[in-house]
Symmetry: C4
Subunit: 193 residues, 4 copies
Amino acid sequence: MTKTRVEAFSDGVIAIIITIMVLEMKVPHEASWEALEKLWPVFVSYIFSFLMLGIYWGNHHHLVHSIKEVNGGVMWANLHLLFWLSLIPFATGWMGENHFEAKTVAVYAILLNLCGVAYYILLKVIQNCNRNNEVFHHVLEKQSKKGMLSLLLYTLAIPAAFLHPAIAGGLFIIVGILWLIPDRNIENAAKDL
Amino acid sequence: MTKTRVEAFSDGVIAIIITIMVLEMKVPHEASWEALEKLWPVFVSYIFSFLMLGIYWGNHHHLVHSIKEVNGGVMWANLHLLFWLSLIPFATGWMGENHFEAKTVAVYAILLNLCGVAYYILLKVIQNCNRNNEVFHHVLEKQSKKGMLSLLLYTLAIPAAFLHPAIAGGLFIIVGILWLIPDRNIENAAKDL
Amino acid sequence: MTKTRVEAFSDGVIAIIITIMVLEMKVPHEASWEALEKLWPVFVSYIFSFLMLGIYWGNHHHLVHSIKEVNGGVMWANLHLLFWLSLIPFATGWMGENHFEAKTVAVYAILLNLCGVAYYILLKVIQNCNRNNEVFHHVLEKQSKKGMLSLLLYTLAIPAAFLHPAIAGGLFIIVGILWLIPDRNIENAAKDL
Amino acid sequence: MTKTRVEAFSDGVIAIIITIMVLEMKVPHEASWEALEKLWPVFVSYIFSFLMLGIYWGNHHHLVHSIKEVNGGVMWANLHLLFWLSLIPFATGWMGENHFEAKTVAVYAILLNLCGVAYYILLKVIQNCNRNNEVFHHVLEKQSKKGMLSLLLYTLAIPAAFLHPAIAGGLFIIVGILWLIPDRNIENAAKDL
């Protein structure tokens, strides 16, 4: 099946993105607590981006699991999503290294926005070739609702970063919690497969 | 099946190449827009190479999907292709860091040429062990035609880079568009599998 | 199956963690035996972390192999484990570069502890959705016992590192040996699958 | 099957090793032919190591393809092989950066020797749990013969490196050619599966 290979490639890319991000956390040359302490913004950024990528992986997993057909359009929309996701280590590193300076947090929020839009495009493209698939429509409904809310929060986070980076951080955390709350409906629908 | 493992290995290598390329985009130490702006040639190179590798992944996917038998020759021809593809992050980084200096663009064009030739060799080797496979022949026909045109454009891009790097860039973009235009025939043929 | 994709993603992440760790072993610029000799603490740390990650991969493999159902909770518990594992290259590099300085060994022991706890949580979450699975219960029993002992040894290694890093090292080696001793029972149970 | 996951993990690790090796080829800061020329020893080392890893992947593929059962011993012997293979980027980088200085070539030869021994151990461990498997025995016979010859050549390359690095290089190339010559017998045997 074509679907399997799209899954395998996406898993590969997301697994690599999530793991090379740790390379931005440069090993300090001294063995002091201070050297470790200085890394906390990088570490906090890493935790959050790891979580975000984990959520993307989980959603992508549920999404592709629910569909049967994959065409050229889906492949390109998927690659487009992977492109924006691949920039997360860069934006994470920039934000962490500059201790959540307003501009870097805003750029991070913009990137998460672009990832969200790319995911939404993927949803729409998949919808076009899975018209009569009920399981997919359950997934679509749930993910669209949460996705829209996430996009709204990411957009608010852009100006919020300039008021105070912590406000943007708070909005990011709300998005994280939003997705961590289990969606019994999706899982139940998936079980009916 | 042997085929599955060739697919898995190729997917793995291409996924890693596409992702480690982002490591060439070094995180700037200052949190200024200027620091970000300076990265634009690296970013533009990244976008294009990501697209090129995505196209290779898509074509490789269609190609291997269409065949049934894989022998030692196919494995070596595939590895040969992966070798040239693995140099793309290097050439991309060199071109980006030197702001599309003529020599670096020419080297990039030469590398894309070598990747194209390696893909063509892979096509020919596969043809030798898939004589009576009609689906493969549809894929072959389409990919050969577009492949030849791409090679011509890459070759023109080598001297063009010395006239003006932007001309080479334009030729690269034409190749990109060429492959992004969907090939209904290939997909239809693949559906008949 | 969902299970397959959790396996594939975990394998991918562990494979990348285990391999990028070698990037912390910076290539010396001179071709002298002294330059190579200076790397021995980095090399020793690398060997041990490679072994530890290999053990995690093996245990994870046995564990996921023994179960049938995977739900959202398992996915998150798995991601949580991968998060702590992903920090191993960092802690390994810090410890190696600082020649097993007490603080760095203690941090390494703390990280192994956190990995162990994350694995234990994964075991418990899986237990909740695999109540009537005998094969899993064999795996669980064995892995819990060894896991608990490992956690104890890692915890002892934290203060031990401040007495003398070599004591902590000795405790780490005991954990390694503990897991390398084959568990006929687990394999026999798995064969009955 | 357990076998599938050992394959997937090995493919992942080898794919990552082969690809991160390109990161040792540092992008030069100037856009001059001289800057590129200086990289030739790194490039030549890269080509050879890529080929060696490709051969290992191919052999590993044939080997695992031919067997049916995998136990704990095979998993550890496999991990042991991956450990030595994971050091290839390091030894390659050291040799390339120091322009084939005798010591670095000798260390490279020693590493290839250790990889060869690890592969031989894997063969022997697999033999123990695949007693009545004829296809495996064909693979074993062929790979043992070539493997022994390779080990001999690698061992000769160690002192040869101190006479002149080019002699060691010549021995390495002979090993490469040895494995590139197709083994019709293995493929025929595999077809009978």
